[in-house]
Symmetry: C3
Subunit: 265 residues, 3 copies
């Protein structure tokens, strides 16, 4: 029986710093299938971090867009025929072109059809799944624990990025927790969706899916803390996090990353 082992604090922070640097120098294209609520903020988060977003959902052209991208995000935030058709084509195009894709199964705990659909998508091999506790419980059929999340990641051959007060990232063999972030992040709509898009962008420049997921969550969490220190509420926070993502430097990332070594079981 495997037991997840953890990445050291310095390593996780350095991974995040290296990935941020590659985002800015590489300007990877990230195609996002996401809901209308999230599209604008998601695109701005990607641009602020150095990536180049595209968002079309049209079945006639999404294949061409994905083929010219470096990573794909599939977010279930709005679940309609158009987005499902787009997702089929996009995931197929990603597979054909060897692109990493990330799944954010938003709100699968609210409607059973959405959970069924997410389960089908997971068979198609996302490099990472980013979700919260309620969403994990719905998909896995049990509450998240270090062991249950690692077992789920192993069984699906993917990386799980579980968000919560402390984030947990595991590929089933390796596991790290991230204690960055701020409560105001939950007061801005589409913040989670945008963070998932940032994770997808990190996959475009970091082939180790587990490290890419850690990098995205550390970058978002540190930017969130810096933004909260300057914000007067959720409105100014949403503005400030874009500024902080744009201005973030390696030294700040290294000094503020709060990744923890999980207890081996």
């Amino acid at each position: 029986m495997h037991s997840p082992t953890a990445i050291a604090r310095e390593d996780a922070a350095q991974t995040a710093a290296a990935v941020l640097d590659r985002l800015r120098s590489g300007a990877p294209r990230v195609h996002c299938i996401t809901n209308a609520v999230a599209q604008n903020f998601t695109a701005n988060v990607l641009l602020a971090a150095g990536a180049v977003p595209s968002m079309t959902l049209s079945g006639e052209e999404i294949g061409a867009f994905v083929a010219r991208s470096n990573a794909l995000l599939v977010n279930l935030g709005t679940f309609d025929r158009e987005r499902r058709e787009a997702t089929s084509i996009a995931v197929g195009s990603a597979a054909q072109n060897g692109l990493p894709w990330v799944l954010d199964p938003v709100f699968v705990d609210r409607a059973p059809q959405r959970a069924d659909y997410a389960r089908d998508l997971i068979y198609l091999g996302p490099k990472a799944i980013r979700l919260n506790h309620a969403e994990f419980s719905t998909l896995a059929g049990s509450a998240p624990s270090t062991e249950s999340v690692a077992a789920y990641a192993r069984a699906r051959n993917t990386v799980i990025g579980l968000s919560g007060e402390t984030d947990l990232v595991t590929d089933g063999a390796r596991l790290t927790t991230i204690a960055n972030g701020h409560a105001l992040m939950a007061k801005v709509t589409a913040m989670g969706c945008a963070v998932s898009a940032l994770v997808a962008a990190c996959h475009a420049v970091e082939p180790d899916a587990w490290r890419a997921t850690i990098a995205g969550l550390v970058i978002a969490g540190v930017a969130g803390e810096l933004a909260a220190a300057k914000a007067g509420g959720p409105g100014s926070f949403a503005v400030a996090i874009l500024d902080e993502l744009h201005n973030l430097n390696e030294r700040t990332l290294l000094s503020r990353a709060r990744t923890e070594i999980a207890k081996a079981k």
Copy 2:
């Protein structure tokens, strides 16, 4: 012949303060059918005030979402097949689950099809209708006056929240005017739509539809005045109103609410 009577100033302000308190402690779920222009800002306004928004329009799942919500907003800002199907299902689900819903008949004065559709919806029993003078005139066939608005509310067995320089809220028997708000609110797209969503959130925690509508308009108006005092233009105003909604306290609401007793006729 009825004549509307007015709620006293203190009572309206206290209602608003009590409702805001219940929004924050209850965190009611508010499902919103609204246009793509408005979705993001509407969700952020709800989150800032303490409510939890959802926005899906998919016919396959909107029933499930509404059934798990505490109130529903139907905004006609974009009028297409998808939203009409979604509206049918959502209003049915609201009726079946005893949920209050609020109608915002945006732009019914611009296209006759939209006005016809709004009239059909009004037969389905929204707890409140929030609209401006041009929209009221189109639906009622006459310009708004204290008497015509009260008569319309009585005939439709609903509450009318008429926005303007001074807002007017009546259920046909009771009437109050609200003089809060700021001119910059008209310079931010979807501000009216977001205020209607806030009104819907208030209905989730206040069963008296007339008081719930007053509460929503007072909270929005006071937050708008506070935001305008800090803003340098419409961009910073839209940010500041989210901060102010998040930070608003009972004392400020009580001291700044400008509700007036209408003259009895």
Copy 3:
């Protein structure tokens, strides 16, 4: 063989100032067919500059909306069946009502279907086309130069507003370059789409399509520079440009416009 001649610096700045004044006094209605990413920001840019946006895409009512508007924007940012139907009806309604319309062929360099569709639309007679270098190259089949852009404008009987480090505006006979703007404009999603909508608004109040296009680009560029001077990153920049558009005055426009006389060839 024609050679484009240039408008003098003072003239371009004065045109922009006069057009801004007419935007504010006339409050023209501008109907926008644009993508979901851009709708909110586009509407806020129009409101900040003094225009009144509408955004519906519904085939049943878009004709009525356009007929009651003063200008139309067609942006290809999302390319789907709904938007193509809407575009057909809207362009037809614009032609019937003698309204100017502006085309923004976003991302035609990314998918061939989109380029084909843009070419078809150009036959229908937009007053101006606003695009970047990659988009021009795709549509024209050659890289942009003063001569190739002027020749393209002449052949299509339209105005080309080519954005870049220096913008170029020509109707084939007249040509001016505009050196306003700031690098942060490329770090805010939908900034280009919103500027195109502002150009459409200028067409609503200035019948000379070449001057209207210059005015829109000068107003946006100057507001962008003023915003950048106050911003700490792309988040605060997007907020500040709305404030600056709202507060912009004639004196600032005249002193900051950096339009250049192109060399006659």
